[in-house]
């Protein structure tokens, strides 16, 4: 009788608690309450609270979705998404009886409107936490849900919280909620390889050694932004290649070169100055495999990172990023010649412009010459610094006698998008 009673009480609690659905933006409401509380303590504390709240609001606008299994998902736009849904569950716990328990636990929850099928994609322990990722779907739409709990927490807790109703893509990447961790998985027929270092050649190509994931179609890391580049191959076709974690909006202090999967040495500031009313800083670092990486940034706070060349159509990205900094990246085989595109922004979309900042420490550098159609164009350098319009190709540093004394490769816009000189592939 006691067991029946316990089970019945659990169900009664479930019935009662599931009527409570939090409104969006709990952090914003929490800060508002804090401000109200502090207001009673005096104007000084109130002013501090307002400032703290204001600083966090932009981040909240991009906050995670609220967890509830009541979304109606997103259209399935790739056959690879269906292949992912047909794949077996992956993860260190996927082959254990816990999988069936988790499936039952999720199945007991109310599903999204019209998403009548369920698939556990991942179940495993990473960085001491237990992770689950699953999809609710039908013939045309799907939604991703995921969560993590302490390893010892119950299944009921695991399937109850977390993120939900997110777009389901063939490459699923989930992160830990309280502990740094990243899990990536792809359709079972595909393979993930990882790389942590590369060598830059004179024509701007980064050569890498790739290591196949021991698990084949999934990887797990104890960092939310591991210093890796990932490549996903399905059959003989590379379907994805890029940083392990997306590098598009970054916090101050983020190691952007490591995030691009390039091991490197100390970071050195090479130049700082104004371009078009913004103050920019150029830093460089020697890559462990040879060559140099450069990061051009404005501002000291959060920043958006350029990866593509032309601006998208208006309205594609509407979030307010006016106060954010801008970042662009480049690589060079010659440590004495750095050429990085100046980024621009339209709305929330940040992209490479056709202007390139050239900074060289080659002795006697007098001018820089860039290929043009027809011929070439050149500008004088001011203490080794200049901004020149370049479509793509090799730019040449010349001395006062018009002798070539150095150069580097600038990626052609037609090869964009790229990050740190490496192409970003997403071909699903």
């Amino acid at each position: 009788m006691s067991t029946d009673l316990e089970h019945a009480l659990r169900q009664a609690f479930q019935d009662a608690a599931e009527t409570v659905v939090p409104r969006p933006e709990p952090m914003r409401r929490l800060l508002r309450r804090r401000r109200r509380r502090w207001a009673g303590l005096g104007a000084f504390f109130a002013a501090v609270a307002v400032a703290a709240g204001a600083a966090l609001v932009p981040a909240l606008q991009a906050g995670p979705a609220q967890r509830a299994d009541n979304g109606d998902g997103y259209p399935i736009t790739s056959a690879w998404t269906r292949t992912l849904l047909d794949s077996p569950a992956r993860g260190s716990l996927a082959g254990t009886p816990l999988l069936a328990e988790v499936e039952r636990g999720i199945g007991d929850r109310a599903g999204g409107s019209g998403l009548d099928r369920l698939k556990v994609l991942f179940l495993g322990e990473v960085a001491g936490r237990r992770f689950v990722a699953y999809a609710r779907f039908n013939d045309t739409r799907a939604a991703l849900y995921y969560n993590d709990t302490a390893a010892g927490d119950s299944v009921a807790w695991l399937v109850r919280g977390g993120y939900g109703n997110l777009p389901l893509t063939p490459l699923v990447r989930i992160t830990g909620s309280t502990t740094p961790a990243l899990v990536g998985l792809v359709p079972a027929d595909c393979r993930i390889a990882t790389s942590t270092a590369g060598t830059v050649s004179g024509n701007g190509v980064v050569a890498r050694d790739w290591t196949d994931s021991p698990q084949g179609s999934w990887v797990a890391r104890d960092s939310s932004q591991p210093a890796e580049r990932w490549r996903v191959t399905c059959g003989a076709t590379v379907r994805f290649e890029g940083p392990a974690a997306p590098v598009d909006e970054v916090a101050p202090g983020t190691d952007l070169v490591a995030a691009g999967g390039l091991a490197h040495g100390a970071v050195v500031q090479r130049w700082s100055g104004p371009i078009d009313g913004r103050t920019w800083t150029l830093t460089t670092t020697l890559l462990s495999g040879g060559g140099i990486a450069a990061v051009l940034s404005s501002g000291a706070g959060k920043a958006t990172v350029a990866t593509a060349f032309p601006p998208p159509v208006a309205g594609g990205a509407t979030a307010n990023r006016d106060e954010w900094g801008l970042i662009s990246t480049a690589i060079s085989a010659d440590p004495d010649v750095v050429a990085v595109r100046v980024p621009e922004r339209t709305g929330a979309y940040t992209y490479y412009s056709d202007r390139v900042l050239v900074v060289t420490t080659v002795p006697g550098a007098w001018s820089v010459l860039a290929p043009a159609s027809p011929g070439a164009v050149g500008i004088p350098l001011d203490n080794g610094v200049g901004v020149i319009h370049v479509n793509g190709g090799v730019i040449t540093i010349r001395n006062a006698a018009d002798t070539d004394i150095g150069g580097t490769y600038v990626t052609d816009p037609r090869d964009m998008p790229d990050y740190l000189g490496e192409k970003l592939v997403s071909d699903w």
């Binding site: 009788m1 006691s2 029946d4 009673l5 316990e6 089970h7 019945a8 009480l9 659990r10 169900q11 009664a12 609690f13 479930q14 019935d15 009662a16 608690a17 599931e18 009527t19 409570v20 659905v21 939090p22 409104r23 709990p26 952090m27 409401r29 929490l30 309450r33 804090r34 509380r37 966090l56 981040a59 909240l60 906050g63 995670p64 609220q66 967890r67 509830a68 009541n70 109310a110 969560n147 709990t149 302490a150 927490d153 119950s154 009921a156 807790w157 109850r160 919280g161 977390g162 993120y163 909620s177 309280t178 916090a251």
Partner: protein
């Protein structure tokens, strides 16, 4: 833990904490108040918190079982509307109301034991540690709490829900 992780924690866990608080308090207003006040307290010590979820649970339960707090917050006033209710078929409204009224009639610490054991699925040992009482006390309070609910709702009613 980094300060930025606090925001992530709030965004991800708020709903779960709110549901637990709802079972502890029986009111969505009071639940919101309990969660927010607990999170604000945790926020100040975030850098020293190793297991944030367990820590917030502890703070919530301690605040709920604090006599002073219960007297002070006999009625919660807020300019925030309550979190919106989810789907709630008519035949479940009375069931939920019966449960909450039954929970209101039992001692607050006994209610906390029931919520931690049968909603949070904490073990007897973890429940005892969180509440700062012995495992034996957890067992006895859980047993008596179940009996009290059975007396109010009836075994048949609970059994029917379980089926």
């Amino acid at each position: 833990m980094a300060a930025g992780e606090f925001q992530d924690f709030v965004e991800v866990r708020y709903g779960d904490l709110l549901r637990t608080a709802y079972l502890l308090t029986g009111s969505q207003h009071a639940a919101e108040d309990l969660v927010q006040s607990s999170l604000l307290r945790v926020m100040r010590h975030w850098g020293r918190v190793d297991e944030p979820l367990a820590y917030v649970r502890r703070v919530m339960v301690n605040q709920r079982t604090s006599l002073w707090r219960r007297l002070r917050n006999a009625e919660v006033l807020t300019d925030d509307p309550p979190d919106r209710p989810g789907p709630d078929p008519t035949d479940r409204i009375l069931q939920r109301q019966s449960l909450l009224e039954a929970l209101d009639r039992i001692p607050v610490r006994m209610r906390a034991v029931l919520v931690l054991r049968y909603w949070e699925d904490l073990s007897e040992t973890d429940t005892a540690e969180l509440l700062g009482i012995s495992v034996g006390s957890v067992k006895s309070q859980a047993s008596r709490g179940l009996a009290r609910l059975r007396g109010v709702l009836g075994v048949d009613e609970l059994t029917r829900r379980a089926s």
